[in-house]
Amino acid sequence: MGKTPAAVIGVGQTHHRAKREDVSMAGLCREAMDRALEDAGLTLDEIDAIVVGKAPDLFEGVMMPELYLAEALGAAGKPLLRVHTAGSVGGSTAIVAASLVQSGVHKKVLTVAFEKQSESNAMWALSVPVPFVMPVHAGAGGYFAPHVRSYIRRSGAPTHIGAIVAAKDRTNALKNPYAHLREEKTVDMVLASQMLWDPIRYEETCPSSDGACALVIADEDVAKSSPNPAWIHGTVMRSEPTTAAERDQVNPQAGRDAAAALWKQAGITSPIDEIDAAEIYVPFSWFEPMWLENLGFAAEGDGWKLTEAGETAMGGRIPVNCSGGVLSSNPIGASGMLRFGEAALQVRGAAGEHQVDGARKALGHAYGGGSQFFAMWVVGADKPTN
């Protein structure tokens, strides 16, 4: 039995900041939820089910926060699910919410993802020493930097490509009133910044943010009354082991397989020609060219050429992260849902100053763990025909 059509009819997000000391976790979530509900023209009472996502509990030190959040999120008397797939969780949470509608179980599902990074220190939380093992771990940057080096070596990319990405995304964020870092950056400014985890520089690194994102996903009947639904054309999740002999950490198989399945579901044969805007999970600048290849926007080894030629800038062949992306706002658990939500805003023509003119189909993408969880969707302005 096939899926029934579903669409995003409401998108909401918080103003992302290093510290949102004015709100609790519940207040942060409600800020995003209330905006999404207002956008959808619905009230919390009209929602059938709530799906919550966030990254590891060690980040806030609250085990299973969905239990304490249930009442504040209006989930009393409704199904409440919590999803966790590390950094990709915002994406997979949106997919779980979508599947509850696509399966015909519910008509109106609200999903919210959040992180309040200011409550602890993610670098610490990701580097807790394990007995007997060499304590060389140094957070997410320390994990991904060697693989970025591998990409540079394998692709022969010039070493300033990462800086082009960072300058582009940070400058894009100037057009996004919700972004955490809103400051114009040039390639030279990025190149002049400190090497944190060589070859990753300070300005090529995502910030640590407090923030949340929420979506309202509805079935066809409900979506009919929305002036601009973002129809879901395809959703895919894939995972793979963190470590395995000869595992490709630059171009992971799970990501390649997920992308191939996604394009097939969405009826897309040439992603670069058919996708008008892409929101790709790029926490460290070099992941833009890496994921362009992994997703099939470029042949292996050629992703950096699109970046260098300016094709991923607004107005390029495949605008990537017009919102400023993870490099400008990184409430970890919400970062994936922001990618999915920003893709929806693009095809709804509701992205404001960072709108890509006439966007009809957009990609939302997230990855997590040691590049071992992938979640992605394609949304479109038109109802899918397949």
């Binding site: 709100v23 060499m134 591998s150 002999a245």
Partner: protein, 325 residues
Amino acid sequence: MSRTLSAPVTVSFDYTRSVGPVIGRFLTGLRDGRFVGARLSDGRVVVPPPEFDPVTHEATADFVDLPETGTVTSWTWVSEPVAGQPFDRPFAFALVTLDGADAPFLHAVDVASPDEISTGLKVRARWAAERTGAMTDLVFEPAPVEPVETPTEPVSTSSTNETPAEPVTGIVTPVSLDYTYAASPEESAFFRGLSEGRIVGQRCPKCEKVYVPPRPACPTDGVPTVEEIELSDTGTVTTFCIVNVPFLGQKIAPPYVSAYILLDGADIALQHLILDIPVDEIRMGLRVKAVWKPRDEWGTTIENISHFAPADEPDADFDTYKHHL
């Protein structure tokens, strides 16, 4: 001897929690020695106030002050208190409904034995002398049976006769968890090998890849990797990063080079330190050899190898390790 090695791990952090305007108002009240509750849309008075009304979902806004006396509606006896609890002697946890409130909240009651507490017992708050705006600013104790003409000293806030202190906007929540970390039997064999100066891997019977450290199951084939293979302590740097950033809990002072080292005979790289070479000369393909600590410092740990150092051999050809990137 146990099949598996284990070691204690403590994960602890002082979480800085922002509490938002509603809980902040309640905690500010505690700091000032009074209970702040809220009247909800259904008319109930609840303390602590919920952040959002359970019926209308609107932010709570109708705040009410409540007295410091109430009634035990249910209780349990804590005969063996643990660290972090309100008392280091036996006490009761009770649901206390404050006079004028419609719902109870959980707190500690200071009584010496379970005979001194029962459902229906009248209790009152006993405020701490130093208050910060936290649940620990008070405990409950049995209230005097007869109403006292002049009750005990009026509750004074820590800021009496001074300008009112800033509202409470956050609390610090120290969390500390003690774990016993257990290595798998296969990893334990690896760590025990290291205590004898040997590096022991295992080969998957299906894909024939050699894993170091060995796994309970091959990640690709899902079968046990039983055949033991002793590996060389010489290998090739496949890729690496230079850690320049200091962070909380860091064990090695930056800058240091965290490298993936593909030991000769292994099919997966392991992570270790590279030293004895200027950082800017470290490169992919560099051949390195383990530098072992003095034998009397060895334990069952990879840290028996102090670090890896250049092996004085020509660099490995890219084709020999490119499929490990």
